[in-house]
C-alpha cells in the first residue's frame, strides 16, 4: 500500500466519517467551512509548482474566481500582513520557502508593498534552521520576534500573556503558515497551534491537551480579528512524535491546504493525521489520550468550524 493518501481517501476525510468524540457531546449546527486542497508532491517541487498549488488551494478555500481575487478580497493594500511560520522542527518539518515566497508574491500582486509583507517566527535561530534568512527579500521582509513582546500581559479567558509586538502592533492582518503534524500534548500542530508562537509564555498552557488555553488564545481579539487565512504545508506530514521532526513518522501527504476559517484547516489536519495513524496501526489521537479538545472548545466559542464532519474539502 502506498504511504500517500489517494485522492479518494482524501475526499473521504472531508467529512463523510462520523463526528469525532469531542464534538458528539455538544454538536450544534454551524455553517460548513471550506478547506481548499491542491496536490503538491515533494518530488520535483519548484517555485512554479508551489505557486500553482497555492493558487489552487486559495481558490478552493474561497470560491473566488482566481487566487488573485481571493487575496484581494482578504487583504487591502494598506494592510501590513504578518505571515507566522512554524519552524520549531527545523527544515524537515517547516513550511517550505517556495510556498511562502508564492504567498508573498500573491500579496505583492494584490498591491501590498514589500515592507507590508512580514514573514516571521519566534527566533532568528528557528528561521535559519528552517531555511529562512532574516532580512529583506524580493517579495517580503523576514523577521524574528526574538524578545520583542508587549510590556504588559493581556488576558483572554485562562491565558495571560505578552503578545509579540509584530502581531499586536505592527501587523493589521495575520496568516498562519503551518504544517501538518502530530503534537505530543495538543494532539495536532497545524494552523491554530502556530499562534502559541506569538505569546511569551506558551509553556504555561500545555496542560489538559492545551484545552481551553489554545481556544482562549484564539478568542483573543488579536488573533480572532486579525487572522484572515490559514495555510498548511502538507507536502510532508508527520503522524507521530511531534512536535519535533521524526523522519520515521513522516509521510508524503503531497498537498497544500488553505482556509479562511480559523479552525477548519486544523479539523482537516486532525482527520488526515488520524487516518495515517490508523494505517500504521497506531492508536488514534483520541485513543492515545490527546484528542485536540481545544478544537471543540474553540468551535463552541464560535471561532470557526472545528468539527471535521462540517468541513468541506475542495480540490485535490
Amino acid at each position: 500500500m502506498s504511504p500517500q493518501l489517494t485522492r479518494r481517501e482524501l475526499a473521504q476525510l472531508a467529512g463523510v466519517a462520523a463526528l469525532a468524540a469531542p464534538f458528539s457531546r455538544h454538536a450544534h449546527a454551524a455553517p460548513r467551512a471550506r478547506v481548499g486542497l491542491a496536490a503538491l508532491p515533494a518530488e520535483g517541487l519548484t517555485p512554479a509548482s508551489a505557486r500553482a498549488a497555492l493558487e489552487k488551494a486559495l481558490v478552493g478555500a474561497t470560491n473566488a474566481t482566481s487566487a488573485a481575487a481571493a487575496v484581494r478580497a482578504l487583504f487591502k493594500p494598506t494592510d501590513t500582513v504578518g505571515i507566522k511560520l512554524n519552524c520549531l522542527a527545523g527544515r524537515g518539518m517547516s513550511p517550505r520557502p517556495e510556498l511562502v515566497e508564492a504567498l508573498a508574491t500573491l500579496l505583492g500582486n494584490a498591491g501590498l508593498a514589500r515592507h507590508r509583507i512580514i514573514v516571521f517566527e519566534r527566533s532568528t535561530r528557528e528561521l535559519r534552521r528552517a531555511g529562512f534568512l532574516p532580512g529583506d527579500h524580493d517579495t517580503y521582509r523576514c523577521l524574528a520576534i526574538d524578545n520583542d513582546y508587549d510590556a504588559e500581559p493581556s488576558t483572554s479567558g485562562s491565558i495571560g500573556s505578552c503578545f509579540a509586538r509584530l502581531a499586536s502592533t505592527t501587523c493589521t492582518a495575520l496568516v498562519s503558515f503551518g504544517v501538518v503534524k502530530d503534537h505530543d500534548l495538543a494532539g495536532i500542530s497545524a494552523g491554530a497551534k502556530n499562534w502559541y508562537g506569538i505569546i511569551h509564555n506558551p509553556n504555561k498552557y500545555h496542560d489538559s491537551n492545551c484545552d481551553p488555553y489554545l481556544a482562549d488564545l484564539l478568542r483573543h481579539p488579536l488573533v480572532r480579528d486579525k487572522v484572515r487565512l490559514t495555510i498548511l504545508d502538507g507536502v510532508t506530514a508527520q503522524c507521530h512524535g511531534g512536535p519535533a521532526y521524526r523522519p520515521d513518522a513522516t509521510w508524503p501527504l503531497g498537498v497544500v491546504a488553505a482556509s479562511t476559517d480559523l479552525l477548519a484547516a486544523d479539523a482537516w489536519a486532525w482527520r488526515v493525521i488520524d487516518a495515517e495513524r490508523t494505517r500504521r496501526r497506531l492508536p488514534t489521537l483520541a485513543a492515545a489520550g490527546r484528542p485536540p479538545r481545544w478544537l471543540a472548545t474553540a468551535h463552541q466559542y464560535g471561532l470557526g468550524v472545528g468539527d471535521p464532519s462540517q468541513v468541506e474539502i475542495v480540490g485535490a
Binding site: T124, Y149, A151, P153, T155, L185, H200, N201, A244
Partner: protein, 370 residues
C-alpha cells in the same frame, strides 16, 4: 525603556557595585542559544520523551519541548536545565527583605534568581522574570563558585535564592550552597514549596534556611489563582521542618480570595499542629499587579485581624509585612512580651537578644542568631 529592560539594567548596575562583579556581561542577544546542562531530576520515556521529577507537575515533555517552567528543555531525550549559572538578577539585600526575621538579623544576603517559575500566580510581583524564559531576559554567566566568592567578597554572610522560583534552578541552588559552605557563606531559599520530595530532601542538608510562600490554605485557590496544588506544599513544609532546616512562612493576604477568618484559622492551626508554634508566620500585604489588578491593596485591618487570629491559635511569632513602620514587624518574647528585635522596614533598629535568648526572662528564641 520597557519595565523588564529597566529591571535588567537596574540589576546590572546594582551588581556592578558588588566587588569583582563589575565586569559581568549582562546581555540579551536577539538569538542566544543556551547550551544548558543535563538536569538532575528526570527520567527518560519512550519516543525520546522525558518526565521531569523536580516538581509535582511531573511534566512529560516531548523532544524539543520545554516543561511548564519554561527553563528545562528536552533535547533528543536528554533533559536540560537552561538556567544553571545563568542568573538574571543578583542583588545585595538585607535578610529581612526575604523576609527572614529569625536568621542573622541585619545580615546581608547576596540574592540571586534566574528566569522561570513552575507556577503562575496571577499576583506575581516578579512576573517580568518568573514568567519569562531564560532567553527572554538579560542574564550573565555566574557559576556557583564565583557566586559564592562574590558573596564572601561583598561581606554577605548569606546567599539567597529568591525573586523568581528557586525550584526551577534547583541544581544551581544545590551547587551554590555547596560552594558557599566551603567559603563560610550559608545559603537560604525563598520558594513556593512546590517541589517533589526527593530533590527537596537531597538539597536541604546544604541549606541554612527556607522561607516558603504559602499562597493559601485552600486547594481551590492554588488551582485557580496559582495553577498549583496545596497538598505538595504542605508536605514540603513538613519535610523542611523535619530536616531541621530553619523555616519561616509567608502568606500574602489578598482581599476576598484568601483572607477569610476561617481560612486563616485553619492555616494557623495546621502550622501549629504540624510544624510547631515557634515557626514564624508572616502575613504580607497584597498590592495589585500582573494579572490581578482588579483588587485593592489588603486593608491594614485585615492583616491585623489575621495577626490576632494566628496569635490566638497559639503561634508565637506572627509578623505583618509590606507595612513599613507597623509594630507587628517587631519580635517580642512570647513568654514575657519583652521587645527583642525592633525593625523598621527592612532595617533592624535594635537587637536585644542575648545569645539567642530574651534578656528579661531568658526564654530561648528559636532561630539562627550567630
Amino acid at each position: 525603556m520597557r519595565r523588564r529592560q529597566f529591571l535588567a539594567a537596574a540589576a546590572a548596575s546594582l551588581l556592578a557595585g558588588v566587588p569583582r562583579l563589575a565586569s559581568a556581561q549582562w546581555s540579551r542577544p536577539p538569538d542566544r542559544h543556551i547550551e544548558g546542562r543535563e538536569a538532575s531530576w528526570y527520567r527518560q520515556l519512550p519516543d525520546r520523551r522525558v518526565e521531569c521529577q523536580l516538581c509535582p507537575r511531573a511534566c512529560q515533555v516531548a523532544d524539543q519541548e520545554r516543561g511548564g517552567c519554561g527553563v528545562r528543555e528536552n533535547r533528543g531525550g536528554v533533559y536540560y536545565t537552561l538556567v544553571h549559572s545563568l542568573p538574571c538578577t543578583v542583588h545585595l539585600d538585607p535578610i529581612e527583605k526575604k523576609p527572614f526575621f529569625h536568621l542573622l538579623p541585619g545580615a546581608r544576603a547576596l540574592s540571586w534568581a534566574t528566569a522561570g517559575c513552575n507556577v503562575e500566580c496571577k499576583f506575581c510581583q516578579n512576573w517580568e522574570i518568573s514568567q519569562f524564559r531564560p532567553e527572554q531576559v538579560a542574564s550573565t554567566w555566574l557559576p556557583p563558585e564565583e557566586l559564592a566568592r562574590q558573596a564572601r567578597n561583598a561581606g554577605a554572610r548569606l546567599l539567597s535564592a529568591t525573586y523568581s522560583e528557586p525550584v526551577v534552578f534547583w541544581e544551581y541552588v544545590r551547587d551554590t550552597a555547596r560552594a558557599g559552605r566551603a567559603l563560610g557563606v550559608r545559603t537560604t531559599v525563598v520558594s513556593n514549596g512546590y517541589i517533589a520530595e526527593a530533590p527537596l530532601k537531597e538539597v536541604l542538608p546544604h541549606l541554612a534556611a527556607v522561607k516558603v510562600d504559602l499562597k493559601s490554605f485552600r486547594d481551590s485557590f492554588y488551582r485557580q489563582v496559582v495553577r498549583g496544588e496545596l497538598k505538595p506544599v504542605l508536605r514540603a513544609l513538613e519535610v523542611i521542618r523535619a530536616a531541621g532546616v530553619w523555616l519561616e512562612i509567608v502568606v500574602l493576604l489578598i482581599p476576598t480570595l484568601n483572607d477569610s477568618e476561617e481560612e486563616i484559622r485553619d492555616l494557623a492551626r495546621w502550622v501549629r499542629g504540624n510544624l510547631g508554634a515557634e515557626v514564624p508566620l508572616h502575613f504580607s500585604r497584597f498590592h495589585p499587579t500582573y494579572r490581578l489588578t482588579n483588587l485593592p491593596p489588603t486593608p491594614v485591618a485585615t492583616l491585623e485581624r489575621a495577626h490576632a487570629i494566628a496569635r490566638a491559635e497559639g503561634l508565637e511569632f506572627v509578623y505583618l509585612g509590606n507595612l513599613p513602620g507597623h509594630l507587628a514587624a517587631n519580635t517580642l518574647c512570647p513568654s514575657c512580651g519583652q521587645l527583642l528585635i525592633q525593625r523598621v522596614g527592612f532595617t533592624v533598629r535594635e537587637n536585644r537578644l542575648r545569645r539567642g535568648a530574651c534578656p528579661a526572662c531568658s526564654r530561648t528564641i528559636p532561630g539562627i542568631w550567630s
